[in-house]
């Protein structure tokens, strides 16, 4: 069985496992399920109301029955009701997800715009002072957590240049693109620069490997200019690991930008999850975590399939 087909077959199995994990995890919260569902508001219920709700939500049934009902609901887009927002969980997620998606896309663009040229430049001038400097910066960048970069950027801009990041009420891109980009530029720079360090390291290393290949040496010995060899022959092949890394990182950004959204007060999905945890809004925690895990898995699947398509060795080796 070829690698892409095997990967596609495993996907629903793992997705099912993820839904079981999330379902069981939420039911392990100390206290009864009504408390888990309603959070602090459950304290206002009388015993009769609590009993009625237990029957209404089917919580008197076995876990297997409950799981089946929950899963069929999820398949139809019913992720429950958020107690904090007073709205269906899915509509809360869909309201906040575009911001997280926009942040992930902008961060990725920043990372590639900084990381790729720097990595390629360093590789084509291996062991020069510029190469050393780029590698040192990349190592420091990779060792500095994104949220620390964010705090330091805010400090430098506000104390050093007197510019305060635009943190007020968030404006969606569709309403006012310029104002939206003004609000997003700093968080995107923060996440982007942190990720650029990894892009520099991987693109440099991939480029160095390719530049040592026989076909590159042959092209050079036949008189092809160095720049042409780099751009036409080496770069397309060196991009394969960068594409993979970018895809995996994009998946992380879709669910892992909690800290950056918190620092810059962006109402993205990461912040929704965090607030839901703090507010004990378990329906929202459950739904958002499932949604993020699903996105993360889809992105990883696409990356794996793209990698197999870009690099034929993956397909052959897996046979």
């Amino acid at each position: 069985m070829s690698y892409p087909i095997r990967r596609l077959l495993v996907f629903p199995l793992v997705m099912f496992g993820v839904s079981v994990f999330v379902f069981v995890a939420i039911r392990l919260v100390p206290g009864d399920a009504i408390t888990a569902m309603l959070g602090t508001e459950s304290g206002l219920l009388t015993p009769v109301q609590r009993e009625a709700l237990t029957v209404y939500f089917g919580l008197d049934q076995s876990w297997a029955v409950q799981f089946w009902r929950w899963l069929t609901g999820v398949m139809q887009g019913d992720l429950g009701i958020s107690t904090t927002f007073g709205k269906p969980v899915l509509s809360v997620i869909l309201q906040h997800f575009p911001l997280t998606l926009e942040l992930a896309v902008l961060s990725m663009l920043v990372a590639l715009a900084i990381g790729l040229p720097a990595g390629i430049y360093a590789a084509t001038r291996q062991d020069s002072f510029a190469d050393l400097a780029i590698r040192v910066v990349a190592m420091i960048g990779q060792s500095t957590p994104g949220f620390v970069v964010g705090l330091l950027l805010i400090f430098v801009l506000s104390v050093g240049f007197g510019i305060l990041p635009q943190m007020g009420t968030f404006v969606p891109f569709s309403e006012d693109p310029l104002r939206n980009l003004g609000q997003m530029i700093l968080p995107a720079l923060t996440l982007g620069t942190a990720f650029a360090a990894a892009v520099i390291r991987i693109s440099r290393s991939a480029m160095l490997d390719i530049l040592r290949e026989d076909y590159v040496r042959t092209a050079r010995s036949k008189g092809m200019p160095r720049g042409r060899v780099v751009w036409r022959h080496a770069l397309p092949n060196a991009l394969i690991p960068v594409v993979t890394l970018s895809g995996v990182e994009f998946g992380y950004l879709l669910g892992g930008a909690v800290l950056i959204e918190q620092i810059f007060a962006l109402p993205g999905l990461g912040r929704v999850v965090l607030d839901a945890i703090l507010q004990r809004d378990y329906a929202l925690v459950q739904g958002s975590v499932l949604f993020i895990a699903f996105n993360f898995m889809v992105v990883n699947l696409l990356v794996d399939l793209a990698y197999a398509a870009l690099d034929p060795r993956i397909r052959f080796e897996s046979k």
């Binding site: 495993v10 199995l13 793992v14 997705m15 496992g17 993820v18 079981v20 994990f21 999330v22 995890a25 939420i26 392990l28 919260v29 100390p30 062991d127 020069s128 002072f129 050393l132 190592m139 420091i140 990779q142 060792s143 500095t144 957590p145 949220f147 620390v148 705090l151 330091l152 805010i154 400090f155 506000s158 104390v159 998946g251 992380y252 879709l254 669910g255 892992g256 909690v258 800290l259 918190q262 620092i263 999850v273 965090l274 945890i277 703090l278 378990y282 925690v285 975590v289 993020i292 895990a293 993360f296 898995m297 990883n300």
Partner: protein, 291 residues
């Protein structure tokens, strides 16, 4: 001798990857040693001041001879709190990575050795855990258990266990087919003996590299959780908590931000450099290239 190894025109042998790797390794080792020393001293209460002791008269003092890294909003000595924070962050990271590497190794070995159903079951469970971004899985676990330093250890351990399982399973599958394992079986060695003495001991090299790198990630995850208020709880200190406290005071007392930020960065850098160096030393291919 390759021309790369000839002395550079500037007098500096900039092309020598071995010398460069040595410098990076020594720097990484020095950083890890310095931070470990600070953590041990704090653990034994050997800090310049009481890290939790408040002094309202000495609030927000800039770095000086009396307080090398200044004081915070409650007049607490920042150097002492930094040492306590390093100790706390290191304790959480070491315990979490220790637990993850132990459980991951056992699961990886069992998966490779027993194969079939057990291999499928263990690896699919690991796939499920890997389907979550690390910080999200940690947040989910904290949502269930409640925020504390102990929960951080549990959360980080669960997040990193699948990575160790995968790191162990691959090479263990290959080792299982080797002649010396067949020979041990023929001589009647017990399953436990083969797994611990033949398989596990041969996996020390990749595990050491993975542990070192995982320590760097664990420090970042612990700091992130504490920054969000879901890890170490006040009045105790951790690097993430110190950064969270500094957020609203960065204009008034910038040292409160810079000191834990630089501390965290150098701690992670130390483990990253050490991990890279160990990988180069323990990987025969790169070892030959560097020789």
């Amino acid at each position: 001798m390759p021309t790369q190894h000839l002395t550079h025109a500037s007098g500096l042998n900039r092309n020598d990857p071995f010398a460069e790797r040595c410098c990076a390794t020594l720097f990484g080792l020095a950083l890890v040693a310095a931070f470990t020393l600070a953590a041990v001293l704090a653990e034994f209460g050997l800090t310049p001041y009481d890290p939790l002791g408040q002094d309202r008269i000495a609030r927000l003092q800039a770095p000086s001879v009396a307080h090398l890294f200044g004081t915070d909003l409650f007049g607490r000595d920042v150097l002492s709190r930094l040492m306590l924070g390093i100790s706390q962050s290191f304790t959480v990271s070491f315990l979490a990575v220790g637990a993850a590497s132990l459980v991951g190794t056992v699961l990886g070995l069992a998966s490779a050795w027993f194969g079939g159903f057990w291999d499928g079951a263990i690896m699919r469970l690991m796939d499920v855990l890997l389907a979550f971004p690390a910080i999200l899985l940690a947040l989910l676990i904290i949502a269930i258990v409640g925020p504390s330093g102990l929960t951080s250890i549990l959360a980080i351990a669960i997040v990193y266990t699948p990575i160790f399982t995968r790191v162990v399973r691959g090479p263990a599958l290959s080792l299982k087919q080797r002649e010396f394992v067949d020979a041990a079986r023929t001589f009647g060695s017990s399953r436990r003996y083969i797994m611990t003495q033949h398989l596990a001991l041969n996996l020390v090299a990749p595990l050491t590299v993975q542990i070192t790198l995982a320590l760097a990630w664990a420090l970042v995850t612990e700091a992130g959780l504490s920054f969000l208020g879901l890890g170490t709880q006040p009045p105790y200190a951790s690097l993430g908590l110190m950064l969270a406290d500094a957020r609203n005071l960065m204009e008034l007392a910038p040292w409160l931000l810079w000191i834990p930020a630089i501390g965290l960065m150098f701690a992670v850098l130390g483990f990253n450099l050490l991990g890279d160096a160990l990988r180069d030393i323990l990987d025969p291919k790169t070892r030959r290239a560097l020789a």
